[in-house]
Symmetry: C2
Protein backbone atom coordinates (compact mmCIF):
# COMPACT_ATOMS: atom_id res chain seq x y z
CA UNK A 1 0.00 0.00 0.00
CA UNK A 2 1.11 3.56 -0.66
CA UNK A 3 -0.05 6.52 1.45
CA UNK A 4 0.09 10.11 0.18
CA UNK A 5 0.82 12.55 2.98
CA UNK A 6 1.78 16.16 3.75
CA UNK A 7 3.21 17.57 7.01
CA UNK A 8 0.80 19.10 9.54
CA UNK A 9 -2.25 17.46 7.96
CA UNK A 10 -4.60 14.70 9.09
CA UNK A 11 -2.67 12.25 6.87
CA UNK A 12 -0.59 11.70 10.03
CA UNK A 13 -3.48 9.59 11.40
CA UNK A 14 -3.46 6.83 8.74
CA UNK A 15 0.36 6.96 8.70
CA UNK A 16 0.36 6.10 12.42
CA UNK A 17 -2.29 3.43 11.83
CA UNK A 18 -0.21 1.72 9.11
CA UNK A 19 2.85 1.69 11.37
CA UNK A 20 0.97 0.34 14.41
CA UNK A 21 -0.82 -2.22 12.21
CA UNK A 22 2.56 -3.64 11.20
CA UNK A 23 1.63 -3.06 7.55
CA UNK A 24 4.08 -3.04 4.68
CA UNK A 25 3.64 0.40 3.16
CA UNK A 26 5.34 3.21 1.31
CA UNK A 27 4.95 6.94 1.78
CA UNK A 28 4.72 9.61 -0.91
CA UNK A 29 5.13 13.23 0.18
CA UNK A 30 3.10 15.96 -1.46
CA UNK A 31 4.49 19.51 -1.50
CA UNK A 32 1.59 21.80 -0.63
CA UNK A 33 4.03 24.74 -0.98
CA UNK A 34 4.08 24.39 -4.75
CA UNK A 35 0.45 23.17 -4.85
CA UNK A 36 1.41 19.63 -5.83
CA UNK A 37 -1.91 18.37 -4.47
CA UNK A 38 -3.54 20.16 -7.43
CA UNK A 39 -1.16 18.74 -10.06
CA UNK A 40 -2.75 16.64 -12.86
CA UNK A 41 -0.71 13.64 -11.64
CA UNK A 42 -2.16 13.80 -8.13
CA UNK A 43 -5.69 14.73 -9.25
CA UNK A 44 -5.66 11.45 -11.19
CA UNK A 45 -5.11 9.71 -7.83
CA UNK A 46 -7.44 11.89 -5.75
CA UNK A 47 -9.75 14.20 -7.75
CA UNK A 48 -10.47 16.10 -4.51
CA UNK A 49 -6.85 17.34 -4.42
CA UNK A 50 -6.38 16.55 -0.74
CA UNK A 51 -4.46 14.18 1.49
CA UNK A 52 -4.57 11.45 2.61
CA UNK A 53 -5.04 8.99 -0.25
CA UNK A 54 -4.28 5.30 0.15
CA UNK A 55 -3.43 3.24 -2.92
CA UNK A 56 -4.40 -0.40 -2.36
CA UNK A 57 -4.31 -3.39 -4.70
CA UNK A 58 -8.11 -3.03 -5.12
CA UNK A 59 -8.14 0.71 -5.83
CA UNK A 60 -7.66 4.11 -4.21
CA UNK A 61 -9.28 5.20 -0.94
CA UNK A 62 -9.74 8.76 0.32
CA UNK A 63 -11.29 10.34 3.45
CA UNK A 64 -9.43 9.83 6.71
CA UNK A 65 -12.09 7.94 8.75
CA UNK A 66 -12.68 5.49 5.89
CA UNK A 67 -8.95 4.85 5.44
CA UNK A 68 -8.42 4.38 9.18
CA UNK A 69 -11.14 1.75 9.51
CA UNK A 70 -9.90 0.01 6.35
CA UNK A 71 -6.44 -0.33 7.90
CA UNK A 72 -7.90 -1.73 11.15
CA UNK A 73 -10.02 -4.24 9.22
CA UNK A 74 -7.10 -5.25 7.00
CA UNK A 75 -4.84 -5.94 10.02
CA UNK A 76 -7.30 -7.25 12.65
CA UNK A 77 -4.51 -8.79 14.76
CA UNK A 78 -3.32 -5.24 15.61
CA UNK A 79 -6.67 -4.60 17.35
CA UNK A 80 -6.84 -0.91 16.40
CA UNK A 81 -10.67 -0.79 16.50
CA UNK A 82 -13.49 -2.66 18.32
CA UNK A 83 -14.46 -4.56 15.17
CA UNK A 84 -16.59 -7.19 16.93
CA UNK A 85 -18.88 -4.92 18.95
CA UNK A 86 -21.26 -2.92 16.76
CA UNK A 87 -22.02 -0.36 19.48
CA UNK A 88 -18.39 0.32 20.47
CA UNK A 89 -17.47 0.43 16.79
CA UNK A 90 -20.23 3.03 16.28
CA UNK A 91 -18.83 5.11 19.16
CA UNK A 92 -15.41 5.03 17.45
CA UNK A 93 -17.02 6.03 14.16
CA UNK A 94 -19.03 8.77 15.89
CA UNK A 95 -15.85 10.26 17.35
CA UNK A 96 -13.95 10.04 14.07
CA UNK A 97 -16.82 11.60 12.17
CA UNK A 98 -16.99 14.44 14.69
CA UNK A 99 -13.27 15.08 14.16
CA UNK A 100 -13.70 15.02 10.40
CA UNK A 101 -16.92 16.98 9.88
CA UNK A 102 -16.84 19.43 12.80
CA UNK A 103 -13.36 19.80 14.33
CA UNK A 104 -11.30 19.63 11.13
CA UNK A 105 -13.81 22.00 9.50
CA UNK A 106 -13.61 24.44 12.43
CA UNK A 107 -9.83 24.48 11.99
CA UNK A 108 -9.94 24.76 8.19
CA UNK A 109 -11.63 28.18 8.42
CA UNK A 110 -8.20 29.58 9.33
CA UNK A 111 -5.85 28.18 6.63
CA UNK A 112 -8.45 27.15 4.03
CA UNK A 113 -11.21 29.76 4.31
CA UNK A 114 -11.05 30.40 0.55
CA UNK A 115 -13.02 27.18 0.14
CA UNK A 116 -16.11 29.02 1.39
CA UNK A 117 -15.64 32.76 0.64
CA UNK A 118 -13.84 34.90 -1.95
CA UNK A 119 -13.99 38.20 -0.05
CA UNK A 120 -10.80 39.09 1.99
CA UNK A 121 -12.79 40.77 4.80
CA UNK A 122 -14.94 37.65 5.14
CA UNK A 123 -11.80 35.49 5.31
CA UNK A 124 -10.63 37.63 8.21
CA UNK A 125 -14.04 37.34 9.93
CA UNK A 126 -13.76 33.55 9.67
CA UNK A 127 -10.26 33.48 11.12
CA UNK A 128 -11.41 35.53 14.11
CA UNK A 129 -13.89 32.86 15.18
CA UNK A 130 -11.52 29.87 14.85
CA UNK A 131 -10.05 30.04 18.40
CA UNK A 132 -13.54 30.03 19.96
CA UNK A 133 -14.81 27.18 17.76
CA UNK A 134 -11.74 25.00 18.26
CA UNK A 135 -11.84 25.58 22.01
CA UNK A 136 -15.51 24.55 22.14
CA UNK A 137 -14.77 21.39 20.16
CA UNK A 138 -11.91 20.41 22.47
CA UNK A 139 -14.00 21.13 25.58
CA UNK A 140 -16.48 18.55 24.31
CA UNK A 141 -13.70 16.11 23.40
CA UNK A 142 -12.02 16.47 26.80
CA UNK A 143 -15.30 16.14 28.72
CA UNK A 144 -17.29 13.59 26.73
CA UNK A 145 -14.93 11.55 24.58
CA UNK A 146 -11.49 10.94 26.13
CA UNK A 147 -11.95 8.19 28.73
CA UNK A 148 -8.23 8.21 29.54
CA UNK A 149 -5.44 7.46 29.16
CA UNK A 150 -6.52 6.78 25.55
CA UNK A 151 -9.79 7.91 23.95
CA UNK A 152 -11.33 4.47 24.57
CA UNK A 153 -9.71 3.88 27.94
CA UNK A 154 -6.88 1.39 28.37
CA UNK A 155 -6.83 0.38 24.72
CA UNK A 156 -5.02 2.41 22.07
CA UNK A 157 -7.14 2.76 18.91
CA UNK A 158 -7.52 4.61 15.62
CA UNK A 159 -9.26 7.38 17.56
CA UNK A 160 -5.99 8.27 19.30
CA UNK A 161 -4.10 8.60 16.01
CA UNK A 162 -6.78 10.88 14.56
CA UNK A 163 -7.11 13.03 17.70
CA UNK A 164 -3.31 13.35 17.85
CA UNK A 165 -3.18 14.56 14.23
CA UNK A 166 -5.81 17.23 14.83
CA UNK A 167 -4.65 18.34 18.29
CA UNK A 168 -1.30 19.37 16.75
CA UNK A 169 -3.16 22.35 15.21
CA UNK A 170 -4.44 23.83 18.49
CA UNK A 171 -1.65 26.28 19.20
CA UNK A 172 -1.59 27.74 15.67
CA UNK A 173 -5.39 27.99 15.90
CA UNK A 174 -5.02 30.27 18.91
CA UNK A 175 -6.00 27.80 21.63
CA UNK A 176 -3.81 26.99 24.66
CA UNK A 177 -3.37 23.16 24.60
CA UNK A 178 -2.86 23.04 28.38
CA UNK A 179 -6.58 23.76 28.79
CA UNK A 180 -7.21 20.11 27.87
CA UNK A 181 -5.14 17.94 30.21
CA UNK A 182 -6.48 14.56 29.11
CA UNK A 183 -5.83 15.37 25.45
CA UNK A 184 -2.36 16.67 26.29
CA UNK A 185 -1.48 13.57 28.32
CA UNK A 186 -2.58 11.41 25.40
CA UNK A 187 -0.32 13.39 23.05
CA UNK A 188 2.71 13.04 25.37
CA UNK A 189 2.04 9.31 25.80
CA UNK A 190 1.90 8.68 22.06
CA UNK A 191 4.97 10.84 21.36
CA UNK A 192 6.94 8.73 23.85
CA UNK A 193 6.36 5.56 21.82
CA UNK A 194 9.16 4.62 19.37
CA UNK A 195 6.62 3.58 16.73
CA UNK A 196 5.05 7.06 16.77
CA UNK A 197 8.53 8.60 16.76
CA UNK A 198 9.41 6.67 13.59
CA UNK A 199 6.30 8.05 11.90
CA UNK A 200 6.82 11.62 13.13
CA UNK A 201 10.39 11.58 11.79
CA UNK A 202 9.01 10.84 8.30
CA UNK A 203 6.50 13.71 8.07
CA UNK A 204 8.74 16.04 6.07
CA UNK A 205 10.08 14.90 2.72
CA UNK A 206 13.76 13.85 2.69
CA UNK A 207 15.95 16.91 2.02
CA UNK B 1 -34.56 2.39 19.38
CA UNK B 2 -35.63 6.01 19.21
CA UNK B 3 -34.45 8.41 16.51
CA UNK B 4 -34.55 12.18 16.95
CA UNK B 5 -35.26 13.95 13.67
CA UNK B 6 -36.18 17.29 12.13
CA UNK B 7 -37.59 17.95 8.63
CA UNK B 8 -35.18 18.84 5.81
CA UNK B 9 -32.13 17.59 7.73
CA UNK B 10 -29.82 14.63 7.25
CA UNK B 11 -31.78 12.75 9.95
CA UNK B 12 -33.86 11.55 7.00
CA UNK B 13 -31.00 9.15 6.14
CA UNK B 14 -31.04 7.04 9.35
CA UNK B 15 -34.86 7.22 9.34
CA UNK B 16 -34.87 5.56 5.91
CA UNK B 17 -32.25 3.05 7.09
CA UNK B 18 -34.34 2.02 10.11
CA UNK B 19 -37.41 1.52 7.91
CA UNK B 20 -35.54 -0.51 5.25
CA UNK B 21 -33.79 -2.53 7.98
CA UNK B 22 -37.18 -3.65 9.27
CA UNK B 23 -36.24 -2.28 12.70
CA UNK B 24 -38.69 -1.59 15.49
CA UNK B 25 -38.21 2.12 16.19
CA UNK B 26 -39.88 5.26 17.37
CA UNK B 27 -39.45 8.79 16.08
CA UNK B 28 -39.19 12.01 18.12
CA UNK B 29 -39.56 15.29 16.24
CA UNK B 30 -37.50 18.29 17.24
CA UNK B 31 -38.86 21.77 16.48
CA UNK B 32 -35.94 23.78 15.13
CA UNK B 33 -38.34 26.76 14.81
CA UNK B 34 -38.39 27.25 18.58
CA UNK B 35 -34.76 26.03 18.94
CA UNK B 36 -35.77 22.81 20.69
CA UNK B 37 -32.44 21.25 19.65
CA UNK B 38 -30.81 23.67 22.13
CA UNK B 39 -33.18 22.88 25.03
CA UNK B 40 -31.62 21.45 28.21
CA UNK B 41 -33.69 18.26 27.69
CA UNK B 42 -32.24 17.63 24.24
CA UNK B 43 -28.71 18.74 25.11
CA UNK B 44 -28.77 15.98 27.75
CA UNK B 45 -29.34 13.54 24.86
CA UNK B 46 -26.99 15.17 22.34
CA UNK B 47 -24.65 17.85 23.77
CA UNK B 48 -23.92 18.96 20.20
CA UNK B 49 -27.52 20.19 19.82
CA UNK B 50 -28.00 18.60 16.42
CA UNK B 51 -29.95 15.81 14.76
CA UNK B 52 -29.87 12.90 14.29
CA UNK B 53 -29.41 11.14 17.63
CA UNK B 54 -30.23 7.46 18.06
CA UNK B 55 -31.10 6.14 21.51
CA UNK B 56 -30.16 2.45 21.78
CA UNK B 57 -30.29 0.07 24.73
CA UNK B 58 -26.50 0.47 25.08
CA UNK B 59 -26.41 4.28 24.92
CA UNK B 60 -26.84 7.23 22.58
CA UNK B 61 -25.23 7.55 19.15
CA UNK B 62 -24.73 10.73 17.13
CA UNK B 63 -23.16 11.56 13.73
CA UNK B 64 -25.04 10.35 10.66
CA UNK B 65 -22.39 8.05 9.09
CA UNK B 66 -21.83 6.27 12.44
CA UNK B 67 -25.58 5.79 13.01
CA UNK B 68 -26.11 4.51 9.47
CA UNK B 69 -23.41 1.84 9.75
CA UNK B 70 -24.67 0.86 13.21
CA UNK B 71 -28.14 0.22 11.76
CA UNK B 72 -26.70 -1.88 8.91
CA UNK B 73 -24.60 -3.94 11.35
CA UNK B 74 -27.53 -4.40 13.74
CA UNK B 75 -29.79 -5.71 10.95
CA UNK B 76 -27.36 -7.59 8.67
CA UNK B 77 -30.15 -9.53 6.95
CA UNK B 78 -31.32 -6.26 5.34
CA UNK B 79 -27.96 -6.04 3.50
CA UNK B 80 -27.74 -2.25 3.59
CA UNK B 81 -23.92 -2.17 3.48
CA UNK B 82 -21.13 -4.44 2.13
CA UNK B 83 -20.17 -5.61 5.63
CA UNK B 84 -18.07 -8.59 4.50
CA UNK B 85 -15.77 -6.85 2.02
CA UNK B 86 -13.36 -4.42 3.72
CA UNK B 87 -12.58 -2.55 0.50
CA UNK B 88 -16.20 -2.07 -0.62
CA UNK B 89 -17.12 -1.13 2.94
CA UNK B 90 -14.33 1.48 2.87
CA UNK B 91 -15.71 2.89 -0.41
CA UNK B 92 -19.12 3.22 1.28
CA UNK B 93 -17.49 4.92 4.26
CA UNK B 94 -15.46 7.18 1.96
CA UNK B 95 -18.63 8.34 0.19
CA UNK B 96 -20.53 8.87 3.45
CA UNK B 97 -17.64 10.79 4.94
CA UNK B 98 -17.44 12.99 1.85
CA UNK B 99 -21.16 13.77 2.22
CA UNK B 100 -20.73 14.55 5.91
CA UNK B 101 -17.49 16.54 5.99
CA UNK B 102 -17.53 18.28 2.58
CA UNK B 103 -21.01 18.34 1.00
CA UNK B 104 -23.07 18.90 4.16
CA UNK B 105 -20.53 21.55 5.24
CA UNK B 106 -20.72 23.28 1.82
CA UNK B 107 -24.51 23.46 2.24
CA UNK B 108 -24.38 24.58 5.89
CA UNK B 109 -22.65 27.82 4.91
CA UNK B 110 -26.05 29.04 3.70
CA UNK B 111 -28.43 28.31 6.64
CA UNK B 112 -25.85 27.86 9.41
CA UNK B 113 -23.06 30.30 8.56
CA UNK B 114 -23.20 31.77 12.07
CA UNK B 115 -21.25 28.71 13.19
CA UNK B 116 -18.15 30.19 11.57
CA UNK B 117 -18.60 34.00 11.48
CA UNK B 118 -20.36 36.69 13.48
CA UNK B 119 -20.19 39.48 10.90
CA UNK B 120 -23.35 39.92 8.71
CA UNK B 121 -21.36 40.90 5.60
CA UNK B 122 -19.23 37.76 5.97
CA UNK B 123 -22.40 35.65 6.29
CA UNK B 124 -23.54 37.12 2.98
CA UNK B 125 -20.15 36.40 1.39
CA UNK B 126 -20.46 32.76 2.49
CA UNK B 127 -23.96 32.41 1.08
CA UNK B 128 -22.80 33.74 -2.30
CA UNK B 129 -20.34 30.86 -2.74
CA UNK B 130 -22.76 28.05 -1.75
CA UNK B 131 -24.22 27.43 -5.24
CA UNK B 132 -20.73 27.04 -6.76
CA UNK B 133 -19.50 24.74 -3.97
CA UNK B 134 -22.59 22.53 -3.98
CA UNK B 135 -22.49 22.27 -7.78
CA UNK B 136 -18.82 21.19 -7.65
CA UNK B 137 -19.60 18.56 -5.02
CA UNK B 138 -22.46 17.14 -7.06
CA UNK B 139 -20.38 17.12 -10.25
CA UNK B 140 -17.91 14.86 -8.43
CA UNK B 141 -20.73 12.70 -6.99
CA UNK B 142 -22.40 12.33 -10.41
CA UNK B 143 -19.13 11.55 -12.22
CA UNK B 144 -17.16 9.48 -9.68
CA UNK B 145 -19.54 7.98 -7.13
CA UNK B 146 -22.99 7.09 -8.51
CA UNK B 147 -22.55 3.82 -10.42
CA UNK B 148 -26.30 3.72 -11.21
CA UNK B 149 -29.09 3.08 -10.70
CA UNK B 150 -28.01 3.22 -7.04
CA UNK B 151 -24.72 4.63 -5.71
CA UNK B 152 -23.22 1.13 -5.55
CA UNK B 153 -24.86 -0.19 -8.71
CA UNK B 154 -27.71 -2.69 -8.59
CA UNK B 155 -27.77 -2.87 -4.79
CA UNK B 156 -29.54 -0.26 -2.65
CA UNK B 157 -27.42 0.78 0.35
CA UNK B 158 -27.02 3.31 3.14
CA UNK B 159 -25.23 5.55 0.63
CA UNK B 160 -28.50 6.07 -1.27
CA UNK B 161 -30.39 7.15 1.85
CA UNK B 162 -27.69 9.66 2.76
CA UNK B 163 -27.34 11.05 -0.77
CA UNK B 164 -31.15 11.36 -0.99
CA UNK B 165 -31.25 13.36 2.26
CA UNK B 166 -28.59 15.81 1.09
CA UNK B 167 -29.75 16.11 -2.53
CA UNK B 168 -33.08 17.50 -1.26
CA UNK B 169 -31.19 20.74 -0.44
CA UNK B 170 -29.90 21.42 -3.96
CA UNK B 171 -32.66 23.69 -5.21
CA UNK B 172 -32.70 25.90 -2.09
CA UNK B 173 -28.90 26.05 -2.36
CA UNK B 174 -29.26 27.60 -5.81
CA UNK B 175 -28.31 24.57 -7.91
CA UNK B 176 -30.47 23.12 -10.68
CA UNK B 177 -30.98 19.42 -9.76
CA UNK B 178 -31.50 18.47 -13.43
CA UNK B 179 -27.76 19.03 -13.99
CA UNK B 180 -27.17 15.67 -12.27
CA UNK B 181 -29.29 13.06 -14.09
CA UNK B 182 -27.96 10.00 -12.23
CA UNK B 183 -28.61 11.62 -8.84
CA UNK B 184 -32.05 12.73 -9.96
CA UNK B 185 -32.97 9.26 -11.27
CA UNK B 186 -31.90 7.79 -7.93
CA UNK B 187 -34.13 10.27 -6.09
CA UNK B 188 -37.16 9.44 -8.27
CA UNK B 189 -36.51 5.70 -7.86
CA UNK B 190 -36.40 5.93 -4.07
CA UNK B 191 -39.45 8.21 -3.87
CA UNK B 192 -41.42 5.62 -5.82
CA UNK B 193 -40.89 2.97 -3.14
CA UNK B 194 -43.71 2.62 -0.55
CA UNK B 195 -41.17 2.19 2.27
CA UNK B 196 -39.57 5.56 1.45
CA UNK B 197 -43.02 7.10 1.10
CA UNK B 198 -43.94 5.94 4.63
CA UNK B 199 -40.79 7.64 5.97
CA UNK B 200 -41.26 10.85 3.97
CA UNK B 201 -44.83 11.14 5.28
CA UNK B 202 -43.46 11.18 8.86
CA UNK B 203 -40.93 14.00 8.43
CA UNK B 204 -43.13 16.76 9.86
CA UNK B 205 -44.47 16.39 13.39
CA UNK B 206 -48.17 15.43 13.62
CA UNK B 207 -50.35 18.57 13.62
Amino acid sequence: MRLYIAPQTCSLAPHLALEYAGAQYEISHLHFGNNQQRSPEYLAINPKGRVPALVTDRGILTETPAILVFIAQSYPQAELAPLHDAYEFAKLQEFQNYLSSTVHVAHAHRPRGARWVDDPAALEAMRRKVPQNMAECFELIERDYVRGPWVFGEKLSLADFYLFAIAQWLEADGVEPARFPKVQALQRRLEADPRAQRVLAQQSPPA
